[in-house]
Symmetry: C2
Subunit: 259 residues, 2 copies
């Protein structure tokens, strides 16, 4: 039987709120077995950019990563957020090691090809170096990934943290029975967006289709859930969506997604 | 016989100049055997701080690391400089992995005690986790340290890069025949500061004393050389000081320091 592995992605709203972040880090540290954390940088990057007089470029509602924007992301995600999370985990006895995809060549990406829109230094994941990650886990490190990859030609690339989490979980599923956790501010996938407790406890393809047809799945949740089903189709054992309380061993109120 | 290990510290003047940095990274990548790189962030941190409207606090000619200053250092050393160096080394086939002392709990420090001056979040190295670094080298990673440590209680600390390099070299000397390289903009220790080629090729305690008595050793070089002799007394095999050309296998014009 394969050993269990947890891959946990922490959302921007949790990261930005110091009280929530500490609660999250307590819960993550208490999780048993090998585990991997993935984070972005949330609004911190926008705040620092604003202070530096750099405004985020948006086209069609999507952020464009120009050279200055990439610098900010490298400073905030790779430096400020990542190193503070690592230091906080170390204080809790979790032997964290902070990584971008460039570190140990763990995640190689390709600069998103220019079609209608030039997204700048945005990276689409091409290859997860499962051997390198496996070696770190074997040495009892807990990898903490920020949302940065590289192209193995010297270029860092801004990459969606949800995608990094699912691609890492997919890559590690050859060797591990992997559970992918998306930890954010809501208790799970909600039937009624106005009712925090209307959590869909179990999603599988059949009731997912029903929810889609009844337009229960809101806009922001759609790409997230497609990402989840993609991971499940690529051998990730289980995907869980919920708030911090989901990480506790006796948790019940969150969404579990399986095939 | 112990295996050889190179610990290379790169100075701010090399780091800041893109042409010099690329030359350095070529030379570092070409070095054979296991190796470790240590860097600070040079004037980049001051520039970013200035753009953010944060001025460096100095007392008695020494920089004070307040909370805002530490954030800058974490962003610039741990993020911008470290991740770019790692990506550039990966492009050259060197399997670099970027680290602060918090990552893998590799370097634990203590906040400098307040006596006459409160240096703020400045750290004095207490313990190098040689096992963690050894595990990374065994997995054929090349550790790239930025000048940040932690206290294992969640606090990051700004730490002198020269000291990090010597402490890492000292720590690794139990298991390796270690050479410590200080790579900066000069060809080595100079007899005449105005003559770039007046390099002292070999320093040992006897002629070091002579140079001291004749006041040949300039102010900035004094703590650097004391650091070197400290490392040698703690079992580092050899210390070399010079410019990038020192790293080439056939190099001759640089300063070698031994006991």
């Amino acid at each position: 039987m394969k050993k269990k592995l947890s891959v946990v992605k922490i959302g921007g709203n949790v990261l930005e709120n110091e009280v929530e972040l500490h609660k999250f880090l307590d819960a993550f540290s208490a999780m048993e077995g090998p585990k991997i954390l993935v984070h972005g940088g949330g609004k911190l990057a926008t705040q620092i950019a604003h202070r530096l007089g750099i405004e985020s470029k948006m086209i069609g509602g999507r952020r464009i990563t120009d050279a200055e924007g990439l610098k900010i992301i490298t400073m905030v995600y790779g430096g400020l957020a990542n190193k503070n999370i690592v230091a906080q985990l170390q204080a809790r006895g979790t032997n964290a090691i902070g990584l971008s995809g460039a570190d140990g060549n763990t995640i190689r990406a390709v600069k998103r090809p220019v079609k209608d829109i030039d997204y700048g230094f945005a990276g689409d994941v091409e290859e997860v170096n499962t051997l390198a990650i496996y070696q770190l886990l074997q040495a009892e490190f807990t990898p903490v990934f920020c949302a940065i990859t590289h192209n193995k030609e010297g270029q860092l690339l801004n990459t969606n943290a949800d995608t990094i989490a699912s691609e890492v979980a997919i890559g590690m599923s050859d060797a591990f029975d992997t559970t992918l956790y998306y930890c954010f501010e809501k208790k799970g996938v909600l039937l009624d967006i106005a009712d925090e407790d209307s959590v869909v406890k179990h999603l599988e393809p059949i009731n997912y289709q029903e929810l889609l047809e009844n337009k229960i799945i809101a806009d922001g949740m759609l790409p997230k859930l497609e990402n989840c089903f993609h991971a499940l189709h690529k051998n990730v054992g289980k995907v869980c969506i919920g708030d911090i309380s989901m990480l506790a061993p006796n948790a019940t109120l969150f969404t579990t997604i399986t095939l």
